[in-house]
């Protein structure tokens, strides 16, 4: 099943080539002028359904060049997993043991009106996308479930934010950018398509994550029709300390913070502020997060190194793709120059020898144009394979976030510890002072009681924080393990795909040139 886009593109480039010959020395855009295809370039390798030669009856040149048979030119990639069709990425979505799948696709952008409360008439418009899910996961209602919802980009932002809050320590794929500027600059169609594609990629990567795919947030996003039932964000501190007992209303802080606390949540918000104020008020010096786990630190450093080299390799890969594209284009232009020469020598025949020369030039032109097409296809494949590098650069950003979660959780623990120490010290001082007074000091005693209450609360907070920290550490660990394994598999398959691709196309090209060598073998000086 060859996509229509694919057929059209080949047809179009063929026509380009033919029409180019008819209008003379305007160098025009040669048929090999394709820009580096983006990831949905239709010119992917496909099954070798050969194209019937399209004869443009107006092109006298067709009579010259035997139209290259597309069965020859199109190359069937050896890489079985990339057959160019938009098949669901089952391998990445499925649990290999029980072949669960969660397949998501996005389509059909539509304009909608914002229901506006403002005084401005008309309101703003935005676009929604149709998100269709097919799955057999139990969370979604079991085998054969299929459903759709409409969502807008803001909803995706909400989903992303909520996941970051709920799944601290996990390597959560990053959502697409808001890219406000681009939306102004690009043509609407192009922008919508780009956004659609990037959203699809994002949701699919969420679906591929073994933990995230089962999250309530994702399920709500995919399944619940109408308004997205997710609040934009909730206070993390409160959530962490959920279940803490009722707290005293006052938390004494040296800076005299607002103590109009109404309940656990407000109080715990104060903890968050305390932490933050500590990190900012120390003249810019953050309290050192002392990470004791040496093993982790080593791992982290190695990953940083890997990320840097990956980034470098990605850059070089881009240059390689550009160089391949350039050589293909120039080869195409050379071919076209010889096409023109052939035509010239055939039209203005004054001498016998011109016929032979014209025939030779035609062969050269044919070979060069074929080679140029092969370069273009090679490149389209190369881009696909090396795209993995870009994906992993994105993954490393997610890793960075997960590591940040860890350090901020640790900071919370350490902050609470130091707060406890301070409270204890103050109680000691007060006790020492009041013991000198006979019969006790009533105001001081009261204060001591209050401080002891604060200590209890803080200790509970610290326990929660420690629990959270341990959880995040565990999340980091399991994710790192998963990353190692997946990274290994992904890169191996990327390398293999790349190599097989290069080898295959080189062979095809060798055939083209060997044919030309044979056609011109009469001129060989030493019978080579």
């Amino acid at each position: 099943m060859m996509g229509n886009e694919e057929a059209d593109d080949l047809h179009e480039s063929r026509e380009e080539m033919e029409s180019l010959v008819l209008d003379e020395p305007s160098n025009g855009r040669s048929s090999a002028s394709a820009t580096v295809p983006d990831h949905h370039d239709p010119l992917l390798s496909s099954s070798s359904s050969s194209f019937s030669d399209r004869h443009n009856p107006n092109s006298s040149l067709n009579a010259f060049l035997d139209p290259p048979s597309y069965a020859e030119a199109i190359f069937t990639s050896f890489d079985p997993s990339s057959n160019g069709h938009e098949t669901p990425q089952l391998s990445s979505n499925s649990n290999p043991r029980s072949s669960d799948y969660l397949y998501i696709s996005i389509s059909d952008p539509q304009k909608e009106q914002e229901l506006s409360n403002s005084l401005v008439p008309g309101g703003t418009t935005f676009y929604t996308y149709l998100i269709t899910t097919r799955t057999n996961l139990l969370e979604f209602g079991g085998p054969g479930s299929e459903f759709s919802v409409r969502r807008r980009f803001k909803d995706v932002v909400t989903l992303s934010d909520r996941l970051s809050e709920s799944y601290r320590g996990f390597f959560i794929p990053l959502r697409p950018d808001k890219s406000v500027v681009e939306s102004q600059v690009m043509a609407k169609q192009e922008f919508l398509e780009q956004r659609r594609a990037s959203l699809e990629k994002y949701l699919r990567s969420l679906a591929a994550h073994p933990v995230i795919r089962r999250s309530e947030e994702l399920r709500l996003f995919l399944e619940v029709k109408g308004k997205l039932p997710l609040a934009k964000s909730i206070d993390v501190a409160s959530r962490v300390l959920d279940g803490a007992a009722r707290l005293p209303r006052q938390l004494l802080g040296e800076e005299g913070m607002d103590v109009n606390a109404k309940g656990g949540r407000d109080l715990l918000r104060l903890f968050k502020e305390l932490r933050q104020s500590m990190s900012t008020d120390w003249g810019g010096v953050k309290p050192l997060v002392v990470e004791e786990d040496k093993g982790f630190l080593e791992r982290k450093e190695r990953l940083a190194e890997f990320e840097q080299q990956l980034s470098n390799m990605s850059l070089q890969a881009e240059s390689l793709v550009k160089a391949q594209q350039d050589i293909g284009e120039t080869m195409g232009e050379l071919g076209l120059a010889f096409v023109k020469l052939t035509k010239f020598e055939t039209e203005e025949v004054l001498f016998e020898s011109q016929n032979a020369r014209a025939a030779d030039m035609k062969n050269v032109a044919t070979a060069a144009v074929k080679a140029s097409r092969l370069y273009r296809e090679l490149n389209a494949q190369t881009v696909k394979h090396l795209d993995k590098l870009h994906d992993y650069l994105g993954i490393f950003l997610a890793v960075g976030n997960a590591f940040s979660d860890r350090s901020s959780a640790l900071l919370t623990v350490q902050t609470l510890s130091s707060e406890l120490a301070t409270l204890h010290a103050r109680i000691e001082k007060l006790e020492a002072a009041s013991s000198k007074i006979f019969g006790g000091d009533r105001s001081r005693m009261r204060k001591i009681e209050e401080l002891k209450e604060s200590i209890r609360v803080t200790e509970e907070a610290k326990t929660c924080a420690e629990r959270e920290y341990e959880q995040i550490k565990e999340n980091n660990r399991s994710e790192l393990e998963r990353l190692d394994k997946e990274r290994h598999d992904d890169f191996m398959s990327m390398l293999r795909g790349f190599v097989v691709n290069q080898a295959g196309y080189a062979e095809k090209m060798a055939n083209v040139w060997e044919k030309l060598a044979e056609e011109t073998s009469g001129y060989a000086k030493d019978g080579s």
């Binding site: 023109k340 203005e348 020898s353 020369r357 050269v364 191996m492 060598a517 001129y523």
Partner: protein, 401 residues
Amino acid sequence: MIATRSVSGSSQSPRSPSSQPYLSVSVTDPVKLGNGVQAYISYRVITKTNLPEYQGPEKIVIRRYSDFVWLRDRLFEKYKGIFIPPLPEKSAVEKFRFSAEFIEMRRQALDIFVNRIASHHELQQSEDLRTFLQADEETMERLRSQETGIFKKKPADLMQIFKDVQSKVSDVVLGKEKPVEESNPEYEKLKHYIFELENHLAEAQKHAYRLVKRHRELGQSLSDFGKAVKLLGACEGNSLGKAFSELGTKSETLSVKLQKEAHQLLMNFEEPLKDYVRAVQSIKATIAERANAFRRQCELAETTKLKEINLNKLTLMRSDKVGEAEIEYQELKAESEEATRMFEMIVRLMNEEIVRFQEQKTLDMGIAFHEFAKGQARLANGIANAWRSLIPKLEACSSSS
């Protein structure tokens, strides 16, 4: 390159092992001499021959580019109508860089130049050729500084000659005196062909040159890519690291292949195309010469006629200037006949030359295309083999993980 020439009149030396007359020339051993602005390249020109006109079986002289130019100019003067083989461009800029590649390209082009002369049945008999191949350096220097030929003319003059050949319509339209031009439809077609051919060839050559550059660029990026892959592999360790490392190394190997092929492409494909372009330009110069000769012939014919009329008038008048006029007339008549002869010779020669040229070029280009195809096939096979050999290693890496 061996040249055989018409054997008429030459005696066979019983002592030489091959009794065939031969003249073999090679331009070798470029050496950079001088400093800075005045730097130049000297070449060893080795002549091996058994022709009696030459000073011995072997002669070696040192020549520089301007000596070749001198030879070309002399031949152009003396052998009007013949397509003088082209020289590589003067190229004032590259002179300062004098890269090894530039030097090699020039040497090759000069070698081809001399050999074409030595194998051309008319040109090989030239005295100037003998001088070039045998004279000592001082003589050569003296001769070199004396020469003024068509190619030493100011560019403006040269352009004028070409313009005359091309544009006659405008003059007629403007009511100017009709320029003296051949009205030969065959010849017109030929001129048009030559001018158009140059354009097409120049374009092909331009792309060929770019293709060479692209090969180099691809080679460079493969090398950079290979290095980056290796660095990444070094971070990784274990079997994946090994896989990266193998791939990186392979990529660097291929980079070398690409650079080599780029050089081959330059010497065996781009240069012949360039040579073809130069040859066509040389023909254009001959076309200009022919136009000159035609004009001269016409002018002299006119003038002679006038002189004749005048002479008759004086004879009738029994003037005492008759004797003088008679002499003048005779001289002029001789000149006119000479001009006519010259023109006709040029026409005849050109007709022969163009056939020879076409055949030669078909051959030259055929060889160039063949080398091109072979080179590209060699490269593609090399690349395919290199990558293929990597696949089992990758399999091994992934299975051992």
